[in-house]
């Protein structure tokens, strides 16, 4: 078997050295009643590389990949171009096959790139500091809520009505066990600023996504002021990090904590994972002490040279156990590396250009689609994603256009369930869409609706 280096003669020699007759003598602690005498005989036997490859090629061929069609899905995951050098670099053995950097003297590659990643995330979000990543944007959001509750010693959390419903559900699931009371008004385009009315003296935080799940860009400043006036925190959620190349940063608008999805930079769609959760906050001792996850920090070695280590670990599970700020251990390591390399290649100039390009593509597409009879643009202030009202079921339209080879976006009903917003379609455009694709979509939609 190609991955197993031992020869039978090695095994015999090793058993002799150990002083047992057979390998089964090493498994005698397994209760007799539970031993599998015949192993896993219901599973197929080992297979060669070409056999395995063949099977996966067949499976992959049953999927329509985004790059093969005009593609407009977003709602929390976005298709962007990833420079070839990113994937090459993250596959270097020294990055790919290293563990968490527990021995800093021989893990400076990972630790320095984490430090650089934290710097970039802090810079684009306009926040003081950022951690070394969470699993994804939704778990970052849940962790941010718990963090806010610890900082304020309050337990009420108000979610904006148009927070991505999967983020809202994840947050509920991962926080209700600790007595966090979640309030959220019914979703409605334009309603996010209403959360101001709900804030009271028991409120730990308000959670507002901008651009929100319908693509609307929200002015966070008044929300931040309203929260702060009551001693509550503003958690700004962002699911399309490229937007920060064009939008005022959440930090500039007064956010206390930012929870974001970083997939758009450096990471493929991957059918939903692995992605990279970003968590940034104010550079304030009280915040840092309550933050979840790992931090890379700068220090010196014994000879006085600069180096990096995992630090502030007295917050973490391996030291604090049940008193830890979070149970997270493994995070999104290699996805942060992809993020930071892609971001380094873009630089400030490229990042802002990319954001503008996305916005322009989306504006062009919105113009073309909303010009179609009975199609209405519901979100005039958007970044690269917007919501349309169609004269019929968006689900049906998406299915029909898929048959014509166009992936036309995400019906709101896919996110919220059927019955309330069946005619709404959430459409995203990115730099990967050619102008021809935009007009192909417009033509097909017009035909579908005529």
């Amino acid at each position: 078997m190609r991955y197993l280096p031992l020869l039978d003669e090695d095994r015999a020699h090793m058993l002799k050295t150990i002083g047992v007759d057979s390998v089964d003598d090493l498994f005698t602690d397994i209760p007799k009643c539970a031993r599998l005498e015949n192993g896993l005989d219901k599973l197929p036997e080992h297979a060669s590389e070409p056999c395995v490859e063949q099977h996966f090629s067949e499976l992959a061929a049953k999927n329509i990949n985004a790059g093969s069609v005009p593609f407009f899905c977003g709602a929390g995951a976005y298709r962007h171009h990833i420079p070839a050098s990113v994937d090459h670099l993250i596959q270097r053995s020294e990055f790919l096959t290293a563990y968490t950097p527990y021995q800093p003297e021989i893990a400076q590659g990972t630790l320095q790139t984490l430090f650089e990643f934290q710097t970039q995330v802090a810079q684009i979000t306009g926040m003081g500091i950022a951690n070394a990543s969470m699993y994804d944007g939704s778990t970052a959001c849940a962790e941010a809520v718990l963090m806010a509750a610890r900082i304020t010693r309050r337990s009420k959390c108000i979610l904006a009505p148009n927070l991505h419903p999967h983020y809202a559900q994840t947050t509920r699931t991962l926080t209700h066990t600790l007595g966090i009371g979640i309030e959220q008004a019914a979703t409605a385009i334009g309603a996010d600023t209403d959360v101001m009315q709900q804030i009271d003296d028991e409120t730990a935080c308000i959670v507002v996504q901008s651009p929100n799940v319908f693509g609307e860009v929200i002015d966070l400043r008044a929300l931040a002021d309203a929260a702060h006036a009551k001693g509550a925190l503003l958690i700004a959620v962002n699911t399309e990090i490229v937007s920060l190349g064009l939008l005022k940063s959440p930090g500039e608008m007064g956010a206390d904590i930012v929870a974001a999805e970083g997939q758009s930079i450096g990471n493929s769609l991957n059918f939903g994972g692995p992605y990279v959760g970003l968590l940034a906050c104010r550079d304030d001792k009280k915040f840092i002490r309550q933050a979840p996850g790992r931090f890379a920090g700068q220090t010196l070695d014994a000879a006085g040279k600069r180096g990096f280590v995992l630090t502030l670990s007295t917050r973490e599970q391996h030291i604090r156990r049940e008193k830890a700020t979070s149970n997270i251990c493994t995070n999104s390591g290699l996805c942060t590396l992809a993020f930071t390399i892609h971001m380094a290649l873009l630089g400030d100039v490229g990042f802002r250009h990319l954001a503008k390009l996305n916005h322009q593509k989306a504006c062009d597409l919105a113009d073309q689609l909303s010009a179609i009879d009975k199609v209405e643009l519901l979100t005039p202030m958007f970044f690269n994603e917007f919501t349309l009202r169609l004269p019929k079921s968006a689900h049906e339209v998406v299915e029909n256009l898929a048959k014509r080879g166009i992936l036309a976006g995400v019906p709101a009903s896919r996110l919220f369930g059927e019955g309330i917003m069946d005619d709404l379609l959430i459409v995203a455009a990115t730099e990967t869409n050619s102008d021809i694709q935009l007009s192909q979509f417009a033509t097909a939609l017009a035909e579908e609706l005529s």
Partner: protein, 514 residues
């Protein structure tokens, strides 16, 4: 010298010996923000049309402050940095509890097929039937290996899987109307930190059970802690001392008799595949670290994947989303909580770590049922061989054989002036990544060694020779070799106390080299 709570030194003695860097193969490299420039970019894009934005006053007015690199500069920056990492592909990586095995490159290739890497989680399910089939096949293998009823695929790492299992248990208790009463979760002292942290995050109180002199759950103490307020036990098996819990079936039966549940931490599944199935051990929930047992790369700290198998007692409470077969035979995704009324909720934005699913399934198919059993046998054989080779020179924490990893305490260093940390750092100078140190907490100065099945006999022999030689050097009074180590790594020991006391968590212009 500062110490942390476990007596592990965190501040090195200063010294002026520094390894020689700046030569052809050991390049110095500055921080991104020192080597980059704010006007540089390594990406060419379509020109902007000059169309004005719709964003008005919400448009960014300032630069981000980030720097950029051209492509050649970027390649050099990251390739140079990569040279400062130890990795499995460079040598044995005996981190106990972490299962640092070889990462097959076929799996990397397959995960990058556009049909998997370039599909969106919310595109119509009619256009991702192959992806859903892959998830079903992965589930089938995991369920065959464990004998369990169902598997929740969405958890994103081991700790997230623990959360999934414990939330399922919580929901089951809630359904029986016993949540008010069942507050306590039993957690052995040897447990990984994520176990108590997870139980606490689920709102339970932690009741720690000590290990007995053989490194197992103390049976009498366990029995004495049972009661109508116990929700569950969280037990790692094989445990973090590298030992199978021989009483596991009895523990399961007793906890069930008392109305509680059995959560098994599956981080050490690599020792028992094809040798026994956890369902037969009475387990109710167990996470599986695809990034350990099933070889998906660790990537310097992630991403992982923590699919969680559930018994028939918990299956109905599994989180959304999950795959099911529709009436027409097409695969569907159940994503709405309304469609899964007993589900405890949702754990993340989408369907889980698809990229890891592809790799793990490829790993399983490559090995087959026969190979997976061989994996466990070889993993256990390798650990025991290493134990046999070094046990007279180091001090095994427990007598007898072990499973896939071997635990030592610092008894063999007694009187030498050398600590576990020093010993570990000296291994770096010998060209090895150290073992797990100071974990589990049940023995003094723990050294936990897990070679995995992908090490050859030659590799084990060389490592054993090094360990024995080091142990003898420590005993013979060559203290400096240890307390000064490492001297051959890119950096000497780092000052963790300084890092924590004066946190510098991002690049700051005025803080260079301080």
């Amino acid at each position: 010298m500062s110490m942390n709570a476990k007596g592990r030194p965190t501040k090195p003695e200063t010294s002026n010996i520094s390894p020689q860097f700046g030569s052809a193969l050991l390049q110095e490299e500055g921080l991104l923000h020192e080597v980059g420039h704010c006007d540089k970019t390594g990406v060419d894009m379509e020109k902007l049309s000059g169309r004005t934005s719709r964003l008005g006053y919400l448009e960014r007015s300032e630069a981000t402050g980030m720097v950029g690199l051209s492509e050649p500069e970027a390649l050099r920056h990251y390739v140079r940095l990569s040279g400062r990492n130890y990795a499995i592909d460079l040598g044995l990586y005996p981190l106990g509890s972490c299962t640092m095995k070889h990462n097959p490159r076929l799996n990397e290739k397959l995960a990058r097929i556009p049909g998997f890497a370039d599909i969106h989680p919310l595109q119509p399910t009619s256009t991702v039937q192959g992806a859903l089939q892959l998830m079903e096949e992965l589930s089938h293998w995991l369920l065959e290996i464990t004998g369990m009823q169902t598997v929740a695929l969405s958890p994103k790492a081991g700790a997230h899987g623990e959360m999934c299992g414990m939330l399922s248990i919580r929901e089951a208790i809630l359904a029986k109307g016993e949540l008010e009463q069942r507050r306590r979760v039993l957690v052995p002292q040897s447990a990984h930190g994520t176990n108590p942290a997870t139980a606490a995050a689920c709102g339970f109180e932690i009741d720690e059970i000590p290990a007995n002199a053989e490194g197992r759950v103390d049976w009498d103490v366990f029995c004495s802690r049972l009661g109508p307020d116990v929700a569950a036990i969280m037990l790692t098996n094989p445990n973090t001392c590298g030992l199978f819990e021989p009483d596991i079936r009895k523990i399961a039966d007793l906890i069930h008799e008392h109305g509680g549940y059995f959560y098994c931490d599956g981080a050490n599944l690599n020792a028992i595949m094809g040798k026994c199935r956890v369902n037969d051990l009475g387990v109710d929930a167990m996470h599986i670290n695809l990034h350990k047992t099933f070889s998906t790369p660790h990537g310097g700290g992630g991403p992982g994947a923590g699919p969680t198998v559930l018994s028939s007692r918990l299956a109905d409470f599994a989180p959304v989303p999950f795959v099911k077969t529709g009436k027409t035979g097409k695969l569907q995704l159940v994503e709405q909580l309304n469609d899964a009324p007993d589900s405890f909720g949702r754990m993340c934005a989408f369907h889980g770590q698809m990229g890891m699913f592809v790799r793990a399934l490829a790993y399983m198919m490559s090995h087959g049922g026969d190979g997976l059993r061989q994996v466990s046998e070889d993993a256990v054989l390798n650990a025991n061989y290493l134990l046999a080779r070094i046990k007279d020179h180091l001090s095994p924490a427990f007598s007898g054989t072990c499973m896939h990893e071997a635990l030592f305490d610092d008894e063999f260093l007694k009187g030498s002036g050398v600590t576990t940390l020093d010993f570990a750092k000296a291994l770096i100078d010998e060209g090895y990544h150290p073992m797990t140190m100071y974990f589990p907490l049940v023995v003094h100065g723990a050294l936990l060694i897990e070679p995995t099945e992908t090490e050859s006999l030659q590799s084990l022999d060389a490592f054993a020779d090094t360990l024995c030689e080091l142990a003898n050097a420590a005993k013979s009074g060559d203290q400096e070799r240890f307390t000064q180590a490492p001297v051959k790594a890119p950096l000497r020991r780092l000052d963790e106390t300084k890092a924590a006391r004066h946190p510098v968590l991002r690049f700051q212009e005025n803080l260079q080299n301080t």
